[in-house]
Subunit: 334 residues, 4 copies
Amino acid sequence: MATPVGIVGFRGYSGVELVSILLKHPHVEPVLLEHRESDDKPGPLGHPGPRRAAMSPAAVHAEGLVAVFLATPAEVSMELTLPLLETGAKVIDLSGAFRLGTVENYKRWYKEDHHHPELLAEAAYGLPEFCRSRIPASRLISNPGCYPTAANLAIKPLIEAGVVQREAGIVCDAKSGVSGAGRKPSIKTSFCEVTENFSAYSVLDHRHVPEVLRTAGLEESEFSFTAQLIPIDRGILETIYFRAKNIGSAEDLLAIYQKAYADEPFVRLYPARHAPDLRCVARTNFCDIGVYYDAKTGRAVVISAIDNLVKGAAGQAVQNMNLALGYPETAGLL
Amino acid sequence: MATPVGIVGFRGYSGVELVSILLKHPHVEPVLLEHRESDDKPGPLGHPGPRRAAMSPAAVHAEGLVAVFLATPAEVSMELTLPLLETGAKVIDLSGAFRLGTVENYKRWYKEDHHHPELLAEAAYGLPEFCRSRIPASRLISNPGCYPTAANLAIKPLIEAGVVQREAGIVCDAKSGVSGAGRKPSIKTSFCEVTENFSAYSVLDHRHVPEVLRTAGLEESEFSFTAQLIPIDRGILETIYFRAKNIGSAEDLLAIYQKAYADEPFVRLYPARHAPDLRCVARTNFCDIGVYYDAKTGRAVVISAIDNLVKGAAGQAVQNMNLALGYPETAGLL
Amino acid sequence: MATPVGIVGFRGYSGVELVSILLKHPHVEPVLLEHRESDDKPGPLGHPGPRRAAMSPAAVHAEGLVAVFLATPAEVSMELTLPLLETGAKVIDLSGAFRLGTVENYKRWYKEDHHHPELLAEAAYGLPEFCRSRIPASRLISNPGCYPTAANLAIKPLIEAGVVQREAGIVCDAKSGVSGAGRKPSIKTSFCEVTENFSAYSVLDHRHVPEVLRTAGLEESEFSFTAQLIPIDRGILETIYFRAKNIGSAEDLLAIYQKAYADEPFVRLYPARHAPDLRCVARTNFCDIGVYYDAKTGRAVVISAIDNLVKGAAGQAVQNMNLALGYPETAGLL
Amino acid sequence: MATPVGIVGFRGYSGVELVSILLKHPHVEPVLLEHRESDDKPGPLGHPGPRRAAMSPAAVHAEGLVAVFLATPAEVSMELTLPLLETGAKVIDLSGAFRLGTVENYKRWYKEDHHHPELLAEAAYGLPEFCRSRIPASRLISNPGCYPTAANLAIKPLIEAGVVQREAGIVCDAKSGVSGAGRKPSIKTSFCEVTENFSAYSVLDHRHVPEVLRTAGLEESEFSFTAQLIPIDRGILETIYFRAKNIGSAEDLLAIYQKAYADEPFVRLYPARHAPDLRCVARTNFCDIGVYYDAKTGRAVVISAIDNLVKGAAGQAVQNMNLALGYPETAGLL
C-alpha cells in the first residue's frame, strides 16, 4: 500500500511535475494540500486526480503524511515549515528559504530577513551526489536551486581534482527554459516577449550564485555567472569555461568525472568532445555532462544539461524523499 | 533612377534579406542572378518581384550591374568572384571565402585549399566600424562572419583601451538563431530537432574564431568561443566575460564604447547594467551593447546583440556597398 | 514637414506596431500620448524615440495633432473619444468600442452598456475595401477587428457573387498569433502555457462574429466561427469552408476575387490551389487569399491570411488615416 | 521475463516514441532491427540502449520475436511484411500500406500500385475503439493514420447516433505538430520555415481522408478536410463542424459520447463547452473530446485532441499489440 505524502504548491510548474512523478512512484502517493483558493479549470470527466486536503497541521495528521513537499515561494516556505515539522512529517522544501546556511547570506541575496535562523542551520542541503550522508537523518531537506544543481555537478569534481587554474576564474554561462521563472503571469514570461527572443538577467548578481560558491568551494572572485532565458518550456544548459592544469587531454577531464560519478545513477557522461543537449535530459532526472579541452592552450569547456523541473526541482526532491524515507534512491525516477 | 546591382544566391536566408533591403534602398535596385535551376513556389498573382537574369559575366554587362553580391557558399564564391571582377563590377562576398587573409589560415579552418590566393590578399574586410578606409577603393569586399561582427564590435574597443587582463583570457559564449545555419535542409536544423532544445556546436573550434583573433588582435590562447543554437529564426547574442583592469565601474566600461562609437550610426549602447536582447535588434542593422562590472572582484561582462541576417550578413553587405559606391553609409538601412 | 498625429496606448502590441509604421510614413510623425504612468525600460542611449506629451485635449491642441489613434481597450476608447473629437482631431479607434452599430449589439457581445450611442451611430467602419467612400468625411473611424478583416475580405465577394449555398452554412476556422490577445500579462498568454500547445477559445461565441455578419451580410445561423491560438507572435490564418454553386472550377472562384479586388493595393491572390501562409504576410498590410474547389462534390475552401497587427490593426488604421487626411492610401504601407 | 518484440524504423519519430513506450512496458522488451546503415550520434557512456539485431527473417527467429512493428514508409512496409509474417511473428504496421482495403483506393490516394493485394485484404484496421474484435486473431494489423484516429473517434459516434445533418456536410479542420511529417530533412519542415508560421497542405486532397470515409461511413461529398502545420513538435487538434439534428443541447451531444465510450480507457470527455488542448494529451494515449452546440441555430462544434505520436501512432500500435498478444489493453500506456 502506498504511503501518502503531501504537496503544497501543486499548481506551479515544479508542483505539477512533482505530482506527475509521485503518481508513478511505486511506494508513495501524493495528497494535494490546498493553500489558497482554487482557480482550477475543469479537467476531463471521470478523472478526478489525486486526493486533496486543506493545508494544515491537522490535515497532515489526519492524512497520515510522512513527508510534505513545499513547492512554494521562499517567503511562504519559511513560514510553513516549522508547523509542518511539528507534526512529525519530514519537510522537503523546493524554495531558496533554507539553502544558504546563514542569515547574513540570506539577507544579502534574498533582500529579506530570515525569520527562522534555527531551521536555516538545521536544514540539510539536498544535492545527493555530494551531501547524501546527511539526508536520511534530517527532518528538513532544502532542495537545491536549478542552476546550482547543473553547475555544482560540473564544477565540484574539477575543483576537488585540482585541475582548475582558479586565479583565471571559472565562467558559467547559464541558459534556462521559461518554466524556471514560475507560473505567475508576468510581462517577462509572456509569450510575445519571449518567443523569437533571448535575453540575460541577473548578470553577475543571481541569487543562485552563493549555492555554487558554498558547495563547490569557490571564492566569489573566482566565479562569473550569467542567467539567460531560452524561448523553450524546460531545460537548463550551462557552458562552463576555465583554464585547466595538470591534464593533457579531454579524456583526462572525462576520467575525473568518471571517477567522481562511478556509482551515481543520475549523472551521465558523454564521450570526450561530444555535447549533451536539452532534448537528451528532458523529462528525466539525469544531469548530462560533456567535456572539451584544447591541449595547446589549456582552455577547457564543460557543458552540463538538466531538466530544470526534474533534476533541477521535482525529480531531485523525490530523490531526496527516497533517501529520507529509506526507499531505493532511484524509485520512481528511471 | 536606381542603379542595378546583382545578387547571386537570392533564395538563401541572407539572400532573401538582401533583396528585401535593396528593394527599399533609395539609390539601387536588385537584379536576381540565377545560378541554379529554380524550384520557386508560385507567389501571389501580379506581384512578379525583382528583375531576373542568368548569372554570367555577359549578363552583368548587359544589365549594367555596378556591383554583385555573392550570398553563396565559400566554395562557390571562390570560383565566381574573378569572372565577376573582370566585368568591372565590384564584388561583395558574404561567404568566408576571402575573410582570413592567408591560404594557411583558410586551409586550417575551412579544411580546403584556396584556389585564388591573389584575391584573398586583395579583399578588403568589410567591418566598416574598423576597416572603413579601405572599402571605397576595393573592388572585392569580404563581408564579415555573423559571430565575429558581434564579437569584434564588443571586444576590439576593450583591447585597444587596455582594460582586459589578457592572461586570464576572454570568454565569448555565442548563441545564434537557426537561420545562421543556412537554408539547405538538414537534420540539425529540422524543426523537431531544434524546438524545445538548445545545443552547442564547434566548441573551441569554430571557423569564425580566426576572424576575431585577426581583427581584435588576440592570441588563440586568449580567446574561448562556443557557438550555440537557439530555437529562434534570427539573432545573435554574445555574452563576453573577462577580468578588467584600469577601470573602476561599469560606467568606465561604457565610456570606452561611447568614445569608440561616438560617430557610428549602427552601434547602440545601453546604460550600464542594462542588457540588450534580440528583439531590440531584430530586422535592424544595429549592434546593441550592454556592460556589467563588479568592482570588488574585477569581473566584467559585456553583452552584444545583432540580427545575424542584417548586421551579421545582408545589412552589413549593403553598408559596405554604400561605402563602395559612394552612397551615404546608412542609405536603405535606417 | 511631417504632420503630427497622436497615439494613445503606444505600449501595447498594436500601439508599438503603429508607432513603427508611422515613423516610416512620408507625411506624418507620431506623438506618443501618455495615458498612464510609465514603466518603460531604458532603451539605448541617444535614441530617445518619438516626441511625447500627456494625453489631454489641451495637449492635442498644443501639439497640433490632426488625428489621434486609440490603441486602447474598448472601455477606455469609449470614454476618450468624445473629448478628443471636440478638439477637432479625427479619431481612429482600434478597439471594438464603435464597431457594432447598435447599443443592443454592443451590449450582447461586449457584455457592457455603451455610454455613447451617438458616437456608435456616427462611426465609419474602417474596412476600406468595402467602406472606402464614407471614411474621408468621417471624424470618427472604427478600425475593424483582426478576425473580421481576414474573414470579410474572403467571404463578402463570395456572397455578393452568389456562389455560396447559404443553407449549408459557412465555416470559418480562425487561428491567431498570441499578440492578438494583447500585452497584459495573463496565464493564458504565458509562454509555458502557449508553447507546444494549440487551443480553441470563444467557440461559436466570439465577439468578432457580429462584425462579419454585418459586413458580409450573413445571418447568424449561416456562420460558424472558432478562434484558436497558435504559438507564434503574429498572424491570422482563416480556413473557410462552404458548398459552392454556380461555379465550375477553382479558377472560377479565383475570378470572383480578381474582379472584386482588381484595384485593391492590399489584397493579393494566389493561383488556384495554392495556399498563402503567415510568413508571406508577416509585417505587411496585405491580405493574401488562396482558393480550392472540388468540382465533383461542390466543396470549396478559401484560405485568408493577414498580419493581425498590421492589416488586422495598425496597418489598416494607417490606411484609414491616409484616406481620412487625404494622403495616398498606400503611403507608408508598401 | 519480458517477451521480445522487434521494431523496424526505430530512428523516426514514431519509432523513437515506440521504443520509449516499450521500454516501460511490463510484459515486452524492444529489439531494434537495423534496416539501413546507422548514422547514430554517440549517446552517454554506459547507457547502450535496447538490444539490436539486423532486420531479417532469420534474426526474427533467432531473437524469438513474437511481433514486429514497422515504423517505416508505406512502400517499405509493403515489401517487408510478407517475409516477416512467414516467420510466424505478428506484424503491426504504422504506415498507410494496408489501411485502405482495396488496391483501387490505394492507387488513387497513394499514387502507386499495391504489390500485395492479398495482405491488403487480410489486414485488420487497428482502431480498437471500433474494430477491437478482429485484432486478436489477425496476424497483420494496420495501425490507423494520425488524423483519422482523432477524426473517427469524434465523428463516428455522431453518425451512428444520427445527429448530423449530412446533406450540409461535416467540416474537419485539422492541425498537426511537425513530427507528423516524419524525420527526413525537408525544406517544408526546416525550423526557419515553420517557426512563426502556419500553413495548410493537401487541402481537400489528403490521403488520410479515405480512412475517415471508410470508418465513419461517410460519402466523400459529406466530408471536407484540411491539414495544417502548427509550429510545435507534437499533437493533433481537429475542429469539427456540423449542423445537428435530434438534439437540444451540448449536454445531449456529450451524452452520445458518454454512451459510446463508457468502457473506453483512452477516450476522455470534457464537460460541455470546455475544450481540450494539446498539452492535456501530450505524451499520453488519450483522445480528448469537447463539445459545443448553439440550440438556436443548430450549429455544433466538436474538438478532438491527441498526441500524433502516441494515440496517433506508437501508443495505438502498442494498444493493438496488447490486444494481439493477449495483454491487458492498457499495459504500458497509462
